[in-house]
Symmetry: C2
Subunit: 127 residues, 2 copies
DNA sequence: CTGAATCCTTTCCGATACTG
DNA sequence: CAGTATCGGAAAGGATTCAG
């Protein structure tokens, strides 16, 4: 990208997009990020709020996000242990672009569904 | 989402984001989309321009994008056959949000790299 | 409560060969 | 040129068990 914010090549842009998709393109990251967008949460809070996630996946997802500085992890040394996860400043800006993605989907989900039905008709058109 | 563009719940937003990530979260979709952002391309043109992609993956990626109305496929009935792929109107709007994603990454790649190095130091701190 | 470790299934995707 | 078909390795992720 140059100073004006324009991309030199399609490959350059594609490279950057792949970088971020490698982080949040997995099954659970964006779900956790959206959930933390409403404020800090404890481990089992997140677990209960995130339908279908296993302990293993929540744990590894959080650690990956923490490693990249998107989520912070705060341990309160009490008994029983209390651990709070929250979005960092970086994480909050990421939530913004994730929200933009959600908005696009919301606006196009109908067209896409229609295109898909149309395609399926045309292809294996049982005639 | 309501008429004002606000989300009712984190889960609603997360659901929409997962929908789109299920489409473009794979290894090649966004690369192909970025490439088609510079104009229509033929199959082997895309293949050569997209380093590392196999015929099989390019083919299946294009078909998936075509099915969802993101990419159009135009066959010119000549000999040899000539097939052109291009972004649809929907595809162009998607390229915009993909570009926003790339821009975010470009702006945060340094912080993320630093956070990662820092995390790796702190964790298996051999000390 | 907050995890880590192990096992096992499923999905993704690369390599290769073949076709109109 | 523009694909499809089949195979096999690698990786993601779910189920379950154990631990501080």
């Amino acid at each position: 990208m140059d100073e004006s914010g324009n991309w030199h090549t399609a490959a350059e842009r594609a490279g950057f997009v792949r970088d971020i998709l490698d982080r949040i393109g997995d099954k659970w990251s964006v779900i956790v990020i959206c959930r933390l967008g409403t404020g800090p949460h404890r481990f089992n809070e997140l677990r209960r709020a995130t339908e279908g996630i296993t302990q293993r996946m929540l744990s590894s997802t959080l650690r990956a996000l923490e490693r990249d500085g998107i989520v912070s992890r705060t341990v309160h040394p009490t008994v029983p242990p209390r651990v709070e996860y929250a979005l960092t400043e970086t994480g909050r800006t990421l939530l913004d672009v994730v929200t933009a993605l959600a908005r696009w989907t919301d606006q196009h989900v109908d067209v896409i569904r229609a295109a898909r039905a149309d395609y399926d008709d045309r292809t294996h058109a049982t005639a």
